[in-house]
């Protein structure tokens, strides 16, 4: 496994989806390669920073409309 191959497999590795022999070669390569170690670390940081983003909020009108639907539903026999 070389560096340009390793960078394509990072998500597969992190998901635990690499077959055993590929995983072993992935980790072997990583141990001996500063460039790929830095890449992995950047990748993990990217995932962590993405996790710090927040989702937008639901606009009030949409919330009111849905609440109306809910009331109609819960008061129905």
């Amino acid at each position: 496994m070389n560096c340009s191959e390793l960078v394509e497999l990072v998500t597969e590795y992190l998901e635990g989806a690499l077959p055993e022999d590929r995983r072993v070669r992935f980790e072997e390569h990583l141990r001996g390669c500063d460039g790929c170690t830095a890449y992995m670390e950047q990748f993990r940081t990217t995932i962590r920073l993405t996790g710090m983003l927040t989702e937008e909020q639901v606009p009030a009108e949409a919330r009111h409309a849905l609440l109306g639907a809910f009331r109609a539903w819960s008061s129905a026999p």
């Binding site: 390669c33 990217t46 983003l53 949409a62 809910f70």
Partner: protein, 222 residues
């Protein structure tokens, strides 16, 4: 990794009980939690934002109608998104969108590498091909305040916004909202491989955008 879809959790069942009892706050919380993703996903199957809003409204009505039949064999979230995707697909078909539905979540065959090929050694030169010529630098020397600064996060958000739609939705569900790969596959009816390819391409592009941004910041004055 062919696990069954996760069954409803205790808190799912509690929410269902609260909804059946007419608890409006429980319903509002559910809407806050899922509505934004529901709108974006609906938008991928239909032609306009207005139709997507209709679809989501119909999906919530469908959720309420189906609530008595909810048996907890899947998580509440998976169940809600299946209802949504079914309604969105039907609406999309009625609109006869040119996109065939089976291909909606197939990765675009863009074939882009995760890292530009120029950053690796080519064949015929010194050193072994495919080895870093221009390796990434470690970010551990960057202080956390800089890495986690609003400006940096805005860069991440902008990079996600620039992604092709399917990559964008998968990275949002997985990395922004923290869904598991199984949740995403169940809710969107995509294969494990497609989900992973979309996620990997998305992450690789966001990493690239961050690397360019942080390197530009780091560069010494000329």
């Amino acid at each position: 990794m062919t696990a069954e879809p996760a069954a409803a959790s205790a808190s799912d069942l509690e929410i269902v009980r609260a909804l059946r009892a007419g608890d409006e706050i429980a319903f509002m919380m559910l809407i806050e939690r899922y509505q934004p993703s529901m709108l974006r996903i609906a938008r991928m199957y239909v032609s306009t934002a207005a139709v997507a809003e209709d679809v989501v409204q119909d999906a919530w009505v469908g959720v309420l109608k189906g609530l008595d039949g909810f048996e907890g064999r899947s998580s509440l979230r998976t169940w809600i998104f299946r209802i949504l995707v079914n309604i969105a697909k039907t609406r999309g078909q009625r609109e006869s969108r040119s996109v065939p539905f089976s291909s909606v979540w197939t990765p675009e065959p863009d074939g882009e590498p995760s890292v530009e090929l120029e950053r690796f050694l080519g064949p015929g030169g010194p050193g072994s091909p495919g080895t870093w010529a221009d390796p990434p630098s470690a970010w551990d020397s960057i202080p956390a305040e800089r890495l986690e600064a609003k400006e940096t996060l805005a860069r991440v958000a902008a990079a996600i916004q620039d992604l092709p739609p399917h990559q964008r939705e998968v990275i949002r569900l997985r990395d922004v909202l923290g869904w598991t790969s199984q949740d995403v596959r169940n809710a969107l009816e995509i294969s494990e491989t497609n989900q992973r390819v979309l996620l990997h391409r998305a992450r690789a592009k966001v990493r690239h955008a961050l690397e360019s941004y942080l390197a530009a910041e780091e560069a010494p004055e000329p």
